[in-house]
Symmetry: C2
Amino acid sequence: VADPDWLELPSDSPFGLENLPYGVFSLGSGARRMGIAVGEYVLDVAAVADRLSPALLDVVARPTLGALLAAGRQRWREVRARVRDWLTDPAARGVVAPHLIDRTGVDLHLPFEVADYVDFYSSAHHAENVGRIFRRDQPPLLPNWRHLPVAYHGRAGTVVVSGTPIARPYGQYKVPGQELPDFGPTRRLDIEAEVGFVVGPATDLGRRVTPAEFDDLVFGVCLVNDWSARDIQSWEYVPLGPFQGKSFATSVSPWIVPVDALQAARVEAPPQDPPVLAHLNQSPRWTFDITLALDLNGHRIAEPPFATLYWTPAQQLAHLTANGARLRTGDLFASGTVSGPQRYQYGSLLELSWNGQQPIELPDGTARSFLLDGDRVTISATAPGPGGSVIGFGEVSGEILTANG
Amino acid sequence: VADPDWLELPSDSPFGLENLPYGVFSLGSGARRMGIAVGEYVLDVAAVADRLSPALLDVVARPTLGALLAAGRQRWREVRARVRDWLTDPAARGVVAPHLIDRTGVDLHLPFEVADYVDFYSSAHHAENVGRIFRRDQPPLLPNWRHLPVAYHGRAGTVVVSGTPIARPYGQYKVPGQELPDFGPTRRLDIEAEVGFVVGPATDLGRRVTPAEFDDLVFGVCLVNDWSARDIQSWEYVPLGPFQGKSFATSVSPWIVPVDALQAARVEAPPQDPPVLAHLNQSPRWTFDITLALDLNGHRIAEPPFATLYWTPAQQLAHLTANGARLRTGDLFASGTVSGPQRYQYGSLLELSWNGQQPIELPDGTARSFLLDGDRVTISATAPGPGGSVIGFGEVSGEILTANG
């Protein structure tokens, strides 16, 4: 892992040469361009490709990642290899350096057009916590939970990039003890700290994807905050699942970390008991060693460990297509709330405050069961890279605005 | 209602001059073009506009309806008025006639890119039937049902045009009495006869739409068959709703009937008790008088009446955005299964066969509880037009193929 001196990348940079995540940026009122985060910079990919690797222009000279996503793994590797060449070849410095832009000065955009958005429910700790909170007289996990990765379709059109303010949503909820529901701003606005996976090439209708195809079909990984209005959700969700309690906004991080950057982050996934049916069998059973960090108004409240999830991303992908549903370029599937076994590892306020029974104390002396107007939530993450390096995911953040009247 | 002689349109034509539904067609290996169904023909809209109304070309010279959908109601009316001029002005005959193509010779395509697909559950008769079948010890309607139009997000990427064969999906299901689930072809493949609504202009994130905005925001109406694998659905759907039991395919009719063509089809909607909360209040409370027809292998098995639905399309639209979720051009929301009070008005085999207890007898001597391989399902519909004319919706059809091994 040799960083070129001229980039002055510290060896523990979350955006070092082993990462090279993709995003879409603009400068001032300029057009959107593909960028790669490196150190404190964003690399204007098309500008350099135009000089050094014009064969890449058809996928990189675009205002969105879509063409690159669709191009497939061989092309992903080719682009990644060329970009590493640019950043490590001293002879390229003169061409590359003018196109390294201070990242603090750019606007970051939703990096791809979300086709379908699917949200899983893959953490046993999270599902058990939810069961213990809401169904105290029943086993915490429902009968289907250990047999398939439960999921639902969310609203692709309200996936927004990190930094987009989140207006507290209105909705219908029923206050316990009242006869009739009310309509008003949610009183129980929550976070769900998740990891998202971005699909590259499309598949044909009718084809089941196997877990082993993950590397060919998934381009990269991002962070997701699946904002949830618990009071709206609990009133509406029987029998067709969450709808208005989730569909007002889902925030994603602006940098898509390539799956190829996470080779050193692969670890064995937790055992599954009972054994899963053949279409969900994954061998070897790997997942990603990604540690999330959840900050509320700048105060760290949890560090959820992705590797503890019962269902792996490769199993999620296989389940998504088990019925022959096709994948489209830009499909986004998220893990569901990442919660580990310890309280400090829970990925939602519902769990962290145990449904309001144990509010979180913040350093400013206030306490939170759910989010207040003005609260700022940031989810960040890291994973191990090769040779002791760190792969950073940047962050997904959002500030809660007062509900629109 | 004056039909020009040269078109030789019978006064009861489902595709008369009062209808003029939009679709996308191709001829042989030719490019996709916007078409309007009239009589037995499809009108090549861009070809005529190029000669007679070039100001329309920016929205009609396209391989999809997207630009027209986005253009808004004033533009929809302008295009519609010009097309009626072309078809009724004898002086235009020479230009128009060469661009009226025999409809039996064209390929019809998905007419717009589906943004988000939402499926409602708005028939009280259907919801009560489902409740009576599956929850015999409880009230047939769940507590939230009369307070909000229950809905879920479906998979936009598997919305297919009429005529697309439907491979019997695999999935996970648990046979009653067995300890563990199986994975295999669904044994309970069903139909849901629905009406779909196509959104035109996008709205901003955070804005709630009122029922009164329906005419400005909804471009047109189509037919939907929301194919459902009941065994997969019933095993997976708690707690996050239907997923693999629905996401393998949803078929839509190729012709989008403009909302403007359905002015004479507006009727008073059924009363609601208890009164709905203010954001769902619709006054006057109207719906569309659309009568569906459900044919199985050419045999009519049901005629579900859309006007009986408890929740109207305008209320569905308002609920969809009650939390500030934005609309995008090409959003498709469907009514949910249309079932009337009589058995012959039920819109699913689940209800028609009462979960297999009363199989349907077909003229060939066979019976059906659910669909068999080789079965062909067709949903068609009509609504009243002005002056005794008929507005046809064409059909949405699909044949069941043996499951992919």
